[in-house]
């Protein structure tokens, strides 16, 4: 099952270069539809509320000498994100039909590889396998941006690669440190004979036994890798460039899934592996997230490029997602995970809409556009819907998740909170208030964009109008446009003024999903309930009774993880309690853990 | 040959100012210690190094590296006498051989270069820069 999910797109990617040109798209479509069908079938036939199905995991030898295994597993959280990936896959393929006309084998091949690798990230249960997949997403994305992007694509691709690569090698160092720490745990005294394991469950288990200082280092190493991907505020500068330059499908995948790799990794690796550090530094991370919300929003406000605006809005939105995550209570975490899905849907759809508009007008400059609702009513209604979903209008999916994230931050009490019943991390009303400001800014810039692009008097790019029938408006313009445009941009010439059936077909499922999850998010919440509650429990137990962090959350552990059997005698549990406030004790703990 | 155990205490301190060898020596030699030899060899090595770094004439530069080789040779012979075994002297014979091979190689290369540019100055060869 999991292998099918992973290898169908890969197989299709291998087939694509061998296909005649006209069959490439069909192969790509099949390669992405099969996983989607599988996922839907699985969602319907299994009761995910009780937990992931048993025995679907894969565990095979890979690089034995290094202790690296090919371990796959699934839980509600990864199922949700795998579903999102599978859902966006065929949409991306369909969306590229008219936009990509050259080197289509290369394009669809790499798109399929990207699909497979992203699925792999969510399924991997071996930290190195995870890292391999996480890194390898860079290659297809790099190719997609630098071959099929717009003018400044090379710089964008290289910046994208270098930023994320730099971050994730640091994360690798953190993982390796943790794996080493795992080998040092009692019960598996260092015997120098290959007792290294990178099994996520084992590492999570080991991570919770580390002293606060060690956890801090590991936490920051991991966060360095994941925060770049998210991207968290000071590390976000690659994102707008990459988004603006990427082809439409690239942007959709980037916003829809790739950014979620970062938040997913935070939630499943960084936080469980270093809970003490995560709790200690939650306010700092939350501050960065809120700066991202507000700063991203303000930047959006002054953008003239629609695509860049939506790109910056991702920075702002992911800020909410991270804020919710580091609230560490049920509401915040639920909201955060929902946000991952919903942002993937609504922002992905916005990029699709912008791509469709761009194919017609060859500009994304808001100064040159206006009143498109007159010209393209169908397109405009979709655009309005997705913008509203992005703003978080009640009734759309964006509302649920954004509200839950802010609520989570509000409820999260900790040391700062004034509430008796507060739960989770050290956030509080202040954070919620600041995030609320971010929400308002979000509404302002998105509605501002909507107003300029969709409403008001019709304004079309100058060159475009000249090429067509002078000042001709309405549906007839499409053909005129087609005739007037030379062969230099032939891919746009068959497009009518408003959306084609194919394009509508692309947007409708997303629109349905947006509204469905806005009105009735329960199935999704049930799906992610268990992993989220596990994290909540982990945090609670770590915080309340610092000494004994309980067993790892989620992640079907492979049977042979020796660390599980070990007694926690090594790092004296009592140490953990006093460590955060006593550096000396922490240093002592480090000393001891080295022995 | 002294046994190892005999030598150890001396080795750990390696008293450089002691006379060159433990055995009876001619009176004139007794004032020259291992220290003097090592100093000579270190001086030769440093002169060679400085010469190598400051001179630009290919032949002189080569001679400087030879000087550094021979500095090592002097140190080896002095140590050989100090330790009363012949390993160091054997080593020196090998060094001389290698030095001869290097000399042949160096002169061949220098001649090749000279044929092309009619100069022994290293600074006229600046094709490779970056």
């Amino acid at each position: 099952m999991l292998l099918t999910l992973l290898f169908t797109p890969l197989l299709a990617a291998l087939l694509v270069p061998l296909m005649p040109k006209h069959a490439v798209r069909q192969v790509a479509l099949v390669g992405t539809l099969v996983p989607l069908a599988l996922v839907i079938f699985w969602l319907c036939t299994h009761n995910w509320f009780v937990g992931p199905p048993q025995g679907v995991g894969v565990d095979a030898a890979w690089v034995e000498q290094l202790g690296i295994r090919f371990t796959l597993g699934i839980d509600g959280l990864s199922m949700a994100l795998v579903t999102l990936t599978a859902f966006l896959g065929p949409i991306c393929v369909l969306a590229s039909y008219s936009a990509i006309t050259t080197r289509i084998r290369t394009y669809y091949g790499w798109l399929l590889v990207l699909q497979a690798v992203m699925t792999g990230v969510f399924l991997a249960r071996d930290a190195i396998l995870f890292y391999v997949m996480f890194e390898f997403t860079l290659v297809p994305m790099f190719v997609l941006i630098s071959l099929f992007g717009s003018t400044n694509r090379k710089a964008a691709a290289i910046k994208f690669f270098l930023y994320t690569f730099t971050g994730s090698v640091l994360a690798l160092a953190g993982i390796v440190y943790l794996a080493w720490f795992n080998t040092q745990l009692p019960g598996k005294l260092f015997d120098g004979s290959g007792s290294w394991t990178f099994n996520v469950a084992a590492l999570v288990n080991a991570g919770q036994k580390m002293s606060a200082v060690q956890q801090t280092w590991v936490f920051f190493a991991l966060m360095a890798g994941f925060a770049v991907k998210v991207p968290l505020f000071p590390l976000h500068t690659w994102l707008p460039l990459a988004h603006t330059e990427a082809p439409t499908a690239g942007s959709v995948v980037l916003a829809g899934v790739l950014l979620k790799l970062g938040t997913f990794a935070m939630l499943t690796l960084a936080i469980p592996m270093a809970p003490i550090a995560a709790i200690t530094y939650a306010p700092a991370i939350a501050v960065l997230a809120i700066i991202g919300c507000i700063y991203g929003g303000l930047i959006c406000w002054v953008q003239t490029d629609v695509k860049k605006l939506v790109a910056y809005s991702s920075v702002a939105h992911l800020g909410f997602c991270v804020l919710g995550m580091f609230s560490f209570n049920a509401a915040g975490l639920q909201g955060s995970v929902l946000y991952m899905i919903n942002h993937g849907l609504s922002t992905g759809a916005l990029f699709l809409c912008i791509g469709m508009m761009y194919e017609r007008y060859h500009t994304r400059n808001m100064a040159e556009l206006g009143g498109l609702a007159i010209k393209m009513p169908i397109w405009a209604s979709f655009f309005v819907l997705f913008t509203m979903a992005s703003v978080g209008l009640p009734g759309t999916n964006g509302f649920v998740s954004e509200f839950l994230c802010v609520l989570g931050a509000f409820q999260a009490g900790g040391n700062l909170g004034a509430f008796a019943g507060s739960t989770g991390g050290n956030l509080g009303p202040f954070f919620a208030f600041a995030a609320g400001t971010g929400m308002i800014i979000g509404a302002i810039y998105l509605l501002y964009m909507l107003g300029r692009v969709c409403f008001g008097p019709l304004k079309e790019p100058l060159g475009h109008a000249d090429h067509g029938h002078g000042s001709s408006h309405g549906a007839a313009h499409g053909s005129g446009h087609a005739a007037a445009h030379g062969s230099d941009d032939d891919h746009a010439q068959h497009l009518p003024a408003d959306l084609t059936g194919r394009e509508i077909g692309i947007l409708v499922p997303i629109a349905v999903a947006c509204i469905f999850f806005g009105v009735y998010p329960k199935p999704l919440m049930q799906l992610i309930d268990k992993p989220v509650m596990n994290t909540v429990q982990l945090v609670e137990s770590t915080r309340k009774e610092m000494p004994a962090p309980k067993a790892a959350p989620s992640a079907p552990a492979t049977p042979a993880t020796p660390a599980k059997t070990s007694t926690p005698a090594h790092t004296d549990p009592a140490k953990h309690a006093e460590v955060p406030s006593a550096p000396a004790a922490a240093a002592a703990a480090v000393q001891e853990s080295h022995s | 040959m002294n046994s190892l155990s005999h030598m150890l205490p001396m080795l750990t301190s390696l008293d450089l100012s002691s006379t060159l060898a433990q055995g009876p020596l001619p009176a004139a030699m007794s004032t020259i210690t291992l220290y003097h030899y090592l100093f000579t060899s270190a001086a030769l090595f440093c002169i060679g190094l400085i010469g190598f770094l400051t001179r630009r004439n290919l032949i002189i530069m080569f001679l400087c590296t030879e000087m550094m080789f021979q500095a090592a040779g002097i140190a080896l012979i002095a140590f050989s006498r100090f330790h009363l075994n012949h390993t160091g002297e054997t080593f020196v014979i090998f060094i001389l051989t290698v030095a001869a091979a290097e000399a042949a190689l160096a002169l061949a290369l220098v001649v090749l270069l000279f044929r092309r540019k009619e100069s022994l100055d290293a600074s006229v060869w600046t094709e490779l820069k970056g």
């Binding site: 860079l138 290289i158 690798l172 440190y177 120098g192 007792s195 290294w196 | 090592a72 490779l128 970056g130």
Partner: protein, 561 residues
């Protein structure tokens, strides 16, 4: 003496082949002259098989700290030597043979074919000897045997002035390096009274026990390490690298990037094994403090300087020269981390990591330079003979569409060197990371990963130029394949290895090769050993075999006679 010879059959095979090649190379008959390369190949195969088959060394030479290093070193020398040989075929006398074909008269004095293959084999012999050295004199001779032929190979690799210049620079700095480590060897001998490595290790252990290494020993070790840095192109001795790599023909550059570097690392391993890594304590890297500090600084500077300078280059060969410096820096991390006692796992033993990395780097490097050697540039309108080497990055534009095989070889090799998973480069960097962390060298590991990220920039630049840009048709010169089939074959073989090397075999072999026994077979808690992070001695799994019987006379002197 005689039993020692029996461990040298691979080297003897290569020497015989080298002699044969020298003789056959001056034959007036082209058919006979052409035999040189096949003979060299056959010799390498035989030597590899001999070395792989049985290793009598562990039995005949007791007390070695790294008993299997010789076998490992010889086998990888033969294997990668074969790839390098494929690269070099067709290089010597190319212009000269063309002239003969047009009706010139054969003149044995103008012919360099035989010498070239002979020197090629001599240098590899030196590398094999270096891996098996157990004596300072032997080590010195082996290192010189590695280097001296390479100077000549650089000089005769092309007929251009820049090859001459490269050879002279290489020779002079090489001589400086040799003099430096020779002086270091002299001081080590002075401090111990022997040149036999196991004996030196014993005496060093005794000095440890008596309160620390003597100053003269430390000075000797430091000088030796700095001198050997020349071979591995590490920082204080790295100045020649870019010029020499650029000046030599690409095939010879590939040779330079593997053979002297590997020899240097073998030498460093053998030298450092005499002082031991904190008596083999598992959790700390415990070279003696001054050595540790110096190696630490060298490693950091080497990695950083190599990568930063590579970013600034436009010549592909210079980029790979600086990247070769950087890779040496990565390997130094493994060297500092050191081995664990006994058959350490690949992740824990830094030496196994280095040995594995040497192979991975060597193979990937062959892939890169095979592409460089397989292409040549011709100015539009110039005569057919006036070709130039491809060197600037723009020469590779659209290589994947003009000659897909070469293009993809280049892309895969570059991405492999970059260390992107799931290629060989990543799996070889992993053990360096794990062993570095195992040894508590967190700072070094962080520098290493950050440097991998810097390196991503220039590797990506080359790969994306080849893969993503369209060929430059308007340019005044055209880039086209050379027409020597063995070079692309070498490149393809290398690229295939980078993608699908059977990791198990080679990693296992590297682990085997890095087997490390305590110098003294006995743990002596080192009082002067560095590190606040030193662990309390928990009784290691190390054997409690009695100390080796003292040998009063010095065996080293006789072994090389």
């Amino acid at each position: 003496m005689i039993e020692k010879l029996s461990t040298l059959w691979p080297e003897i095979t290569l020497l015989i082949a080298a002699t044969l090649s020298m003789i056959l190379g001056v034959s007036p008959s082209l058919a006979i002259r052409r035999l040189c390369a096949p003979i060299a190949a056959a010799a390498l195969v035989i030597a590899g098989l001999l070395a792989y088959g049985d290793d009598p060394r562990a039995a005949t030479v007791p007390n070695l700290a790294l008993p299997h290093l010789a076998q490992y070193g010889k086998v990888i020398t033969a294997a990668i030597g074969l790839l390098l040989l494929l690269l070099c075929v067709g290089l010597p006398d190319r212009d000269y043979e063309a002239k003969l074909a047009r009706g010139g008269v054969f003149d044995a004095l103008r012919n360099t074919r035989g010498e070239f293959y002979a020197f090629f084999l001599f240098s590899l012999t030196g590398l094999m000897l270096c891996a098996g050295a157990d004596d300072l004199i032997w080590l010195f001779l082996a290192l010189e045997l590695v280097s001296l032929p390479t100077y000549i190979m650089v000089a005769i690799s092309t007929s251009r002035n820049r090859s001459m210049e490269a050879a002279v620079k290489y020779f002079f700095l090489g001589a400086l390096g040799a003099a430096t480590f020779l002086y270091g060897f002299a001081l080590i001998y002075g401090a111990t009274g022997t040149t036999y490595l196991p004996k030196i290790a014993e005496i060093f252990q005794a000095q440890y026990a008596a309160g620390g290494l003597s100053g003269i020993a430390v000075a000797g070790l430091v000088l030796s390490v700095i001198g050997v840095c020349f071979k591995i192109a590490a920082v204080p001795m790295h100045f020649y690298t870019a010029d020499v790599y650029q000046g030599a023909h690409a095939s010879v550059t590939a040779f330079l990037a593997f053979v002297p570097k590997t020899a240097g690392f073998f030498a460093l391993m053998l030298l450092l094994a005499t002082v031991g890594w904190a008596s083999g304590e598992a959790t700390t890297s415990g070279l003696p403090q001054p050595l540790h500090t110096i190696l630490w600084i060298i490693a950091v500077l080497t990695m950083t300087a190599g990568n930063v300078l590579a970013v600034l280059q436009n010549s592909v060969k210079r980029i790979f020269a600086y990247s070769s410096i950087a890779h040496s820096g990565y390997m130094l991390v493994g060297l500092i981390a050191g081995p664990v006692v006994g058959d350490g796992s690949l992740q824990s033993s830094g030496l196994a990591a280095v040995l594995f990395y040497l192979v991975a780097y060597g193979v990937t490097n062959v892939g890169v330079f095979a592409v460089l050697a397989s292409l040549e540039k011709r100015k539009a309108g110039a005569a057919a003979e006036t070709t130039d080497e491809v060197d600037s990055i723009s020469d590779f534009r659209g290589l994947c569409s003009t000659s897909p095989l070469l293009g993809w070889t280049l892309v895969i090799s570059c991405v492999g060197l970059l260390g992107l998973p799931p290629l060989l480069g990543f799996f070889s960097k992993m053990p360096l990371l794990t062993s570095g962390i195992r040894a508590g060298e967190y700072g070094l590991v962080v520098v290493l990963v950050i440097n991998s990220a810097i390196a991503a920039y220039y590797y990506l630049r080359i790969a994306s130029t080849a893969l993503l840009e369209s060929p430059d048709l308007a340019s005044s010169s055209t880039v086209r394949p050379v027409g020597i089939p063995t070079r692309p074959i070498a490149g393809l073989a290398a690229a295939a290895c980078v993608v699908a090397l059977s990791l198990y075999t080679i990693t296992d072999f590297a682990r085997f090769g890095a087997k490390y026994d305590l110098p003294h077979k006995q743990v002596i808690p080192a009082p002067s050993a560095p590190s606040a992070k030193e662990a309390p001695a928990k009784s290691p799994s190390a054997p409690s075999a009695p100390a080796a019987q003292p040998q009063a006379n010095v065996p080293g002197a006789t072994t090389t006679n």
